[in-house]
């Protein structure tokens, strides 16, 4: 869920919704508080009260669930729990300075978890984005039939909660339960979904199953918006379907594709559900395979809250920077 979780919420952010109707007339504050505004001070006070009423709930909650926890985590990250004796005497909190940060950054497991995500991205992104692009082009081509059915069929996995999707695939990977392993056996092929080298493919497949259709729909909508005259001109110039796709259609939706790539990276850094479940059977992966898994394990298995807090802040920094770059690039395309 981690990856998907953030992604849909963000996908449109940078290019956000050009309002379909367009700002009809002078909307916005100038209109509502202009000098010609009848009413006088009473109304104005009413408006100020309204602003408070409308915005305070959001900002109060935002402070409570984002700002304060981050501050609290920053404070926690400066301390270390030290158990006295065998641990029966309870723990006491000792000031550690930046000790937790150096421990996280020096921890092979923490660094490896980022390495795992990098490898995951290298496998997942070409497969998923490439697949979505090809599917969108095929459905958009004049040759496709039953477009509506295919779109629904591809998008359907997205309706399945991330954890349940991972659970279904976990069973589909399990010999004895799975039709896939049966089929592979019948063909005489050897593939252990939980093997040391294969496990990452099992994770990639779960993500691809969930996200290919979603992105295909986004690309397809982009293709639908390509002006008809452009395509007609290409046909008149003698370009076949394939050439039109490669040289006309793809360049026209390039910003959408690049944005999808970037958002997929932001999602990948939060990956949790799929590796968490695959790891239940693939023992070689370890419980700290991804950064979010590392944090979970540090906190709930190691009870090292200082380390977990420090790693969370580091992850937040990486994720925030990544999202920032994504949004900046998105805005640049929006402007151009």
């Amino acid at each position: 869920m981690a990856a998907p979780l953030a992604r849909p919420a963000k996908a449109p952010a940078p290019q956000a919704a050009p309002p379909p109707t367009g700002p009809a007339g002078p909307s916005g504050p100038a209109a509502s508080l202009g000098p010609g505004n009848p009413g006088g001070p009473g109304t104005r006070r009413g408006q100020r009260r309204a602003v408070a009423l409308f915005t305070v709930p959001f900002f109060a909650l935002f402070t409570a669930v984002t700002v304060l926890p981050m501050i609290y985590a920053a404070w926690m990250s400066l301390y270390r729990e030290e158990s006295s004796g065998l641990g029966f005497g309870g723990t006491e909190r000792a000031f550690a300075g930046f000790g937790n940060f150096t421990e996280a950054l020096g921890s092979e497991a923490f660094l490896r978890s980022f390495g795992n995500i990098a490898l995951y991205c290298a496998l997942y992104i070409p497969a998923m984005v490439g697949g979505a692009l090809v599917l969108a082009l095929l459905v958009d081509s004049t040759m496709a039939r039953a477009r509506r059915f295919f779109q629904i069929a591809y998008f359907l996995p997205h309706a399945v909660p991330g954890l349940i999707a991972s659970l279904i695939w976990l069973y589909l990977y399990t010999p004895g339960l799975s039709p896939i392993t049966d089929a592979l056996d019948a063909l005489g092929a050897q593939w252990n979904f939980f093997g040391q080298d294969e496990a990452i493919f099992s994770v990639v497949n779960i993500s691809a199953w969930q996200w290919t259709g979603y992105n295909m729909i986004i690309f397809y909508a982009g293709l639908q918006a390509v002006p008809r005259e452009v395509l007609e001109a290409a046909t008149v110039d003698g370009a076949g379907a394939l050439r039109t796709a490669l040289q006309v259609k793809i360049p026209m939706i390039r910003p959408t594709v690049v944005l999808t790539l970037l958002f997929t990276c932001v999602g990948a850094i939060q990956l949790f559900d799929a590796p968490k479940l695959v790891q239940l059977r693939a023992n070689t992966m370890g419980e700290d395979w991804s950064p979010t898994m590392f944090i979970y394990t540090a906190a709930f298995k190691g009870h090292d809250y200082g380390l977990a807090a420090a790693s969370s802040l580091l992850l937040a920094l990486v994720a925030g920077l990544l999202s920032f770059v994504v949004t900046k690039l998105g805005n640049r395309w929006k402007a151009s």
Binding site: A30, T66, D273
Partner: protein
Amino acid sequence: MSTQTATPDAPPAPRRPGRRSAPPVRRRSRGITSRVMVNGVLAVVAVYTLMPLTWLLIASTKSYRDLFATNPFSLGDFQFLANLNALLDYNDGVFVRWLLNSLLYTVVASGLSTLISVACGYAFDKYAFRGRERWFGVVLVGVLIPSTVVQLPLYLMASELGLVNTYWAVLIPSLVNPFGVYLARVFSEGYVPGEVLEAARMDGAGEVRTFREVALPMLAPGFVTIFLFSFTANWNNFYGALMMLNDDRLYPVNLGLYMWNQNVYQQPELYPLVIIGSLVAVVPLIVAFLCLQRFWRSGLTAGAVK
């Protein structure tokens, strides 16, 4: 409300009827081959996307013994109702409780969250107040921080406050949706003309009433879109629930199924329960998705495409 007709809910991509209905006539035989190829590829991918759900459906009709003994795509003894009964009975019907909890964590939380976001975004768009853009900058920073990375800090603070293992621990965080505020501001710019609000004020409506009775109906399509974003995020929220909840009576359905799955080695009879439980949890979502397709697609493409 008549104004609603003037506010299309989505920017539907312009159709290109000409291109669709007039395929080129030349090269017909080659056309047929490539048509078969294209549709063949599309069909194979559809098999890939639909296969897991089909397997789930078939597996849910099997007893534990048949799950491992029979061909995964053939029907064994039809045990669907027995499995369903077992699911609903297990542990005094805890599964039903999980479903209700999920309803609370997704539908109720998303509804509240959307109302909060829409009100805030509307205020950003329609009122001038001091520091408006600076506050909006705070919202944008919030958009940049993925909720997953705040999860552990949130847990640490909740446990300090004694809120861990309560409904609030999952509910309160899901009420905050900075991206929803951002979207609401954009929607408010597009859907709610300032003159209409002026007219309502002239008629003596207060600010809250103007919002509730004039602006909110005009924002309805945007409301649904933001609701769906929030809903998706909340039903996918496993990481948060896993950290916050210990008491199985508070679990959402995905956490409950995860915990059952943790025990299948010791209690293999849980396999059919996890399978049919997944099915029961997924079916309403698929039905909702099929019914709300229009909004889903509009939200999806609202910003991604110009």
